[in-house]
């Protein structure tokens, strides 16, 4: 048929560079390259970095950040931001801690209630964004500030100080701790169980994103909301569930923290929201939505952890970490931009 003539042209061009194209178009390739570079660099420059203890340290550092980065990445692919994600890790920990230490509840029950609280905040964020049509940046900035105030205000009101401690004496601390904050012994070094949670969350998110219907909808609502709506994708439900997803991830991280350190500061988590977004962007997420990967975000968090601990092992001033972060972020954004232009090349 003659109709194939115009269609076949880009095909032929694609065929010649097909393997490269396939590889380059994957959002996590840039992050993977960066991770290998950082890994090799600190392995050569410092001695502790590659030791079992060193590996456990930077994996631990990356794990809680990674859990959040993955959830935030899904939300960003869906075209939204959540600035309240950082402070939510403290809010959920505070709810659990206050209920367990002040009200004398069993830890498991307290965890359940803080999970419900997290789901409610996430649903509220999503509902507000959809209802008002305002950018999620502004809406969740509001939630962020409100939660920050609540965290400090309520904690001071109840305990008279800005921290809640004494988790070790509560009912169910041992069993809950074994799930969220135990360690696994490998080669004489204790690896925190949060690393397993990180891997599990990443695997689940990657599966959800690329292998399920809901994942398809996430890409669609972020990539082009009107198109998605026009073909019958439930836009509101998808976005609200994504906001609830980041809130649940914050609950998981908050629970890991409170059970591990047995105390929580009311001002914890502030500023972390940007680290999550940065990790997701380094992992290949577009700020404009519709493109990205869960595995990429996890690798972004890994780069974070490796660099933060590597700089300590190299005995540099930790100020350099920020410089490193800035350079990483800029190069990631540049690489992402190039990819997007590639994907939208012909109009």
């Amino acid at each position: 048929m003659t109709t194939t003539e115009t269609v076949a042209r880009p095909d032929e061009r694609l065929a010649s560079t097909r393997i490269l194209d396939r590889l380059v178009v994957r959002p996590e390739v840039g992050a993977l390259l960066g991770a290998v570079l950082v890994f090799v660099f600190f392995s050569v420059v410092t001695e502790q970095f590659l030791s079992v203890g060193g590996v456990a340290t930077w994996l631990d550092d990356a794990s809680t950040l990674g859990i959040m980065a993955v959830a935030v990445a899904l939300l960003m692919i869906g075209g939204e931001f959540d600035l309240s994600a950082g402070v939510m890790t403290a809010s959920t920990a505070l709810v659990t801690a206050l209920l367990a230490t002040q009200a004398g509840w069993n830890v498991w029950l307290a965890l359940l209630v803080s999970l419900v609280f997290a789901l409610a905040v996430g649903a509220f964020n999503g509902w507000m964004v959809l209802r008002t049509g305002l950018p999620s940046f502004i809406v969740t900035l509001g939630t962020f500030l409100a939660l920050q105030g609540l965290n400090l205000g309520v904690t001071r009101l109840v305990t008279g100080s800005v921290q809640v401690s004494g988790m070790r004496r509560t009912d169910g601390y041992e069993s809950a701790g074994s799930v969220f904050a135990s360690t696994i012994d490998i080669g004489g070094t204790a690896f925190p169980v949060s690393i397993l949670w990180w891997v599990a969350v990443t695997a689940a998110a990657a599966w959800l994103l690329t292998r399920t219907r809901f994942g398809n909808w996430i890409f669609a609502v972020g990539g082009s909301a009107p198109s998605a709506r026009a073909v019958g994708v439930p836009l509101g439900r998808t976005k609200i569930l994504l906001f609830m997803g980041t809130a649940v991830a914050a609950w998981l991280v908050g629970s890991i923290n409170i059970l591990r350190f047995a105390s929580v500061q009311a001002n914890q988590g502030i500023g972390l929201e940007f680290q999550y977004i940065i990790a997701a962007v380094i992992g290949g997420c577009l700020l404009t939505g519709g493109f990205g990967s869960a595995v990429g975000a996890a690798i972004g968090a890994l780069i974070f952890g490796m660099a933060r601990q590597g700089i300590v092992y190299a005995q540099w001033d930790s100020d350099w970490f920020m410089l490193f972060l800035g350079v990483m972020l800029l190069s990631a954004v540049l690489v992402n931009n190039a990819f997007r232009r590639r994907a939208e090349r012909v109009r």
């Binding site: 269609v7 880009p10 082009s224 994907a343």
Partner: protein
């Protein structure tokens, strides 16, 4: 025989503005009806009524002989009326097959472990596109890498595949070059040959004439008449669309000014 879709004297006003007044048209299976008109003629209002975005105020709207009133685009879709908008057709960053099945994804498995059936998705997309004469070697490539005409074709193939009986195309050739427009028109003809009723909205009589069986001319919200192809020539169609006598007066005026 009842028509696939019919409007009888439909009208629509937005507040005090009458956007459409007493327009009648019939769409039969295997037929292309072209809706022509200049900007502001009421083309968009008419298709918005057909697509379920707006409801008509007066007159009747019949699908297979039954009067209908759609509350949403989803209702229209359920009744077999698919609309392909110029820009709303696809998500550029998603792959061709994911776009094709967006909103109606094939799945395997049960309960929380229900997964996308990616193999079926890819195969069906490739086959459905091939049946329309679109040969894409790689349905995994992002739709954004396709040209404008090809994107329209993917959207048309999607509507055909999911069992649309009536296909409404909103200015499918407006942003396209001559060659690309030709490709799209060929797929319009394909859809018609497969028994769909096609409503083609355009302001280009040169695109409408070769593919259309009937031509509904709109001007300032009113129908200037619905002509069968046998009753009207391309020149006459162009003349009427451009405002006929008005254009001649303008031509006269411009020539006099020289």
């Amino acid at each position: 025989m009842t028509a696939l879709m019919e409007v009888r004297d439909v009208g629509k006003s937005y507040g005090s503005v009458i956007a459409l007044r007493e327009v009648s048209a019939v769409v039969d299976a295997g037929e292309v009806i072209c809706v022509l008109g200049d900007n502001g003629a009421g083309k968009s209002t008419l298709i918005k009524i057909l697509a379920g975005v707006h409801q008509h105020d007066t007159g009747e709207f019949l699908v297979e002989g039954t009067p209908v009133r759609f509350d949403s685009p989803r209702d229209a879709l359920a009744a077999g009326i698919a609309t392909v908008y110029q820009d709303l057709a696809v998500v550029p960053l998603m792959s061709v097959w994911r776009n094709f099945f967006l909103g109606s994804e094939p799945t395997v498995g049960f309960g929380p472990l229900r997964m996308l059936d990616r193999r079926t998705g890819r195969q069906v997309t490739k086959r459905a596109l091939a049946e329309m004469g679109i040969d894409l070697r790689d349905v995994e490539q992002p739709v954004g890498t396709l040209s404008g005409g090809e994107r329209q074709c993917v959207a048309i193939a999607r509507a055909v595949h999911f069992g649309a009986k009536v296909l409404i195309l909103d200015e499918p050739t407006a942003a396209l070059g001559v060659k690309q427009a030709g490709v799209v028109l060929r797929y319009v003809a394909q859809a018609r040959d497969r028994g769909l009723g096609v409503v083609l909205i355009t302001h280009n009589p040169h695109h409408a004439y070769p593919v259309g069986d009937r031509f509904l001319l709109l001007n300032r919200g009113r129908s200037l008449g619905c002509h069968d192809k046998a009753d009207i020539t391309l020149a006459e169609l162009t003349r009427q669309m451009a405002g006929g006598a008005e254009l001649e007066a303008l031509e006269h005026e411009l020539r006099a000014g020289q």
